[in-house]
């Protein structure tokens, strides 16, 4: 019994942490129609930055904010590539990810005097330094899950509120119909860059949280994040699309939990850990198959070429 409860807590705990990444990809993929592959690079950016900063005694909560800001900066660059240089989302992501491999390595080498991994098990993190959850509530894992839940709910509420503001509405309109944004006198490119900054901010935030949970951070943590994030979003949106009044953010959080549950079940069946990424790929594949229209949206989004001025305007 205890065994099952522990697995469940584990699923909830990690599912919630990765839900932060899913929330970011919800903004880029679902709202902006820009499947962003740079998160494979910005997720570990948040992780290694946090690892290095915590080793240097920076407050772990502050690390969350710094990671978010660093992710936003990277996302801005992805956006600039797409908007200013007219590069398709697929390539923007690949270029950004490749560049981030070096950036992350430099951060970790600099911060650990040449190491390839930042370990900070003994340092305080948002999970073990927290006095916000009293110990009588439950064991360490339960308290960790509660902190993750608070973080996710907080982020979800902020995103939901933002999407109802004037700026948020403009972001949604830009993703849905760029011409509409133009007709409102706004440069859709600016909104796109901002949306990508937000999405990658959340990816780096997720990286920071996961690293603090593990007590270590390295470049490897980014592998498979695109697949994990997109799968969560697609699972959430396609399963709950008919539920009236459920917000997209709620759908992707649930999607992330379902993703994590299926992943964990496969591993509990006794698959060796070296098959981790294989399982991720297969779940993503299944998500694409059951996702219906989502596959089409994803493919179109990946290769959508930013239009140059006057392009495709016929002589009429």
């Amino acid at each position: 019994m205890n065994f099952v409860v522990n697995i469940l807590i584990g699923i909830v705990e990690e599912g919630l942490m990765y839900a932060l990444l899913a929330m970011g990809m919800y903004i880029t993929y679902s709202i902006l129609d820009f499947p962003d592959l740079s998160v494979d690079g910005t997720f570990p950016l948040g992780a290694v930055l946090t690892g290095v900063l915590i080793l240097h005694g920076v407050n772990p909560w502050l690390c969350l904010l710094i990671s978010f800001a660093a992710g936003m900066l990277a996302g801005t660059l992805t956006g600039l590539m797409n908007v200013k240089l007219k590069i398709i989302p697929l390539l923007c992501g690949i270029i950004m990810y490749t560049a981030m491999l070096s950036v992350n390595l430099v951060i970790i080498r600099t911060g650990t005097n040449g190491g390839a991994i930042a370990s900070f098990f003994t340092k305080s993190t948002i999970f073990n330094s927290a006095t916000i959850i009293p110990e009588r509530i439950g064991g360490f894992y339960l308290r960790t899950a509660i902190i993750a839940l608070i973080l996710v709910v907080l982020c979800k509420v902020i995103v939901d509120l933002y999407l109802k503001t004037k700026n948020g509405l403009l972001l949604r309109a830009t993703g849905d119909n760029e011409r509409y944004a133009i007709m409102l006198g706004k440069d859709p490119g600016t909104m796109k860059i901002f949306g990508l900054a937000l999405g990658n901010g959340f990816a780096a935030l997720a990286g920071s949280v996961i690293a603090q949970n593990k007590g270590s951070a390295d470049q490897q943590m980014g592998i498979g994040m695109v697949v994990l994030g997109l799968a969560s979003v697609i699972i959430g949106l396609s399963i709950f699309k008919r539920v009236k009044l459920m917000k997209g953010t709620t759908m992707v959080i649930l999607g992330s939990l379902i993703y994590k549950a299926s992943y964990q079940i496969v591993l509990e069946l006794g698959l060796p850990t070296e098959w981790n990424n294989f399982v991720k790929a297969v779940i993503f594949l299944i998500a694409l198959v059951i996702g219906g229209d989502q596959l089409n949206k994803l493919i179109k989004g990946l290769v959508k070429r930013p239009k140059k001025e006057g392009e495709n305007v016929r002589a009429e």
Binding site: Y162, T165, K166, R172, M183, G310, R314
Partner: protein, 257 residues
């Protein structure tokens, strides 16, 4: 006053498909004029609107609007003074936002898109009064997503949205072309009322010769990038469809359609 001076535009320059559409084309539209543009396919009507709105830049020549040279201004900046309704009803509204959200977004045009709440309950009555003028019952469906409206309803909403804020020029790019005859009639009536009420300078491209004759204060017929007919004032008021049909058929046959 809107002025197009010596506009040149070549499509596919240097290829076998080279198409010199505008060769020193000039046009002046006075404030308050409602111009109907008709013409054969490929005559330059839509390109003209695209050059005015900045969707396309001319190869040479200038676009001067209200005394400012806007030839090199980006499209989104020009849109601050121009309202535009396109042929495709999907373009003028955001499908995934409700009617209310669409209108709230549009009302904020030319202001800051801040982190303030977008939908203000106090404005609902005003939005409803605008929608009532369409007579489509949209005023009772504020919470409905724009994407679930019919083409005619969506285009009416697009027109209201385009004219909600103070614009100096209204551009209608075959805005009735995708609609059934009945919806087109309704939309033209709404258009006429909005244009008269707001005294908007308007340029309307249409394939419907009757609309061009019945509506507007000036009629321009385009062919191969030039105006082959330009009628305004008293003559436009007395114009009958038969007066222009002959000329229209002549240019249409010339293009093979």
């Amino acid at each position: 006053m809107l002025e197009l001076n010596n506009i040149n535009k070549v499509f596919n320059a240097g290829t076998v498909d080279e198409n010199r559409l505008f060769d020193n084309f000039s046009l002046k539209v006075a404030d308050g004029e409602f111009v109907s543009l008709v013409g054969s396919n490929g005559s330059g009507k839509t390109t003209l609107l695209n050059v005015i709105c900045g969707t396309l830049r001319p190869d040479s020549g200038s676009v001067v609007f209200g005394g400012t040279d806007i030839t090199n201004a980006p499209e989104y900046k020009r849109a601050r003074r121009i309202g535009r309704v396109l042929q495709d009803p999907k373009m003028g509204t955001c499908a995934t936002l409700s009617i209310l959200e669409n209108m709230a977004l549009a009302e904020n045009k030319n202001k800051r898109y801040s982190l303030g709440r977008a939908v203000n309950k106090h404005r609902e009555e005003y939005f409803k009064s605008l929608l009532e003028t369409c007579g489509m019952g949209l005023e009772n469906r504020l919470g409905v997503l724009a994407g679930s409206l019919s083409g005619g309803q969506r285009q009416a909403l697009a027109l209201i949205i385009a004219t909600m804020t103070d614009i100096e020029l209204l551009i209608l790019d075959e805005h009735t072309a995708a609609l059934d005859p009945k919806s087109s009639e309704t939309l033209m009536e709404i258009t006429q009322r909005v244009v008269t009420e707001k005294k908007l300078t308007t340029l309307m491209v249409t394939h419907n010769l009757r609309f061009a004759v019945d509506y507007g204060t000036r009629l321009i017929m385009m062919h191969s990038g030039s105006a082959v007919m330009d009628i305004d004032g008293e003559r436009k008021r007395e114009l009958h469809i038969d007066d222009i049909l002959g000329k229209f058929n002549e240019i249409s046959i010339e293009c093979g359609n």
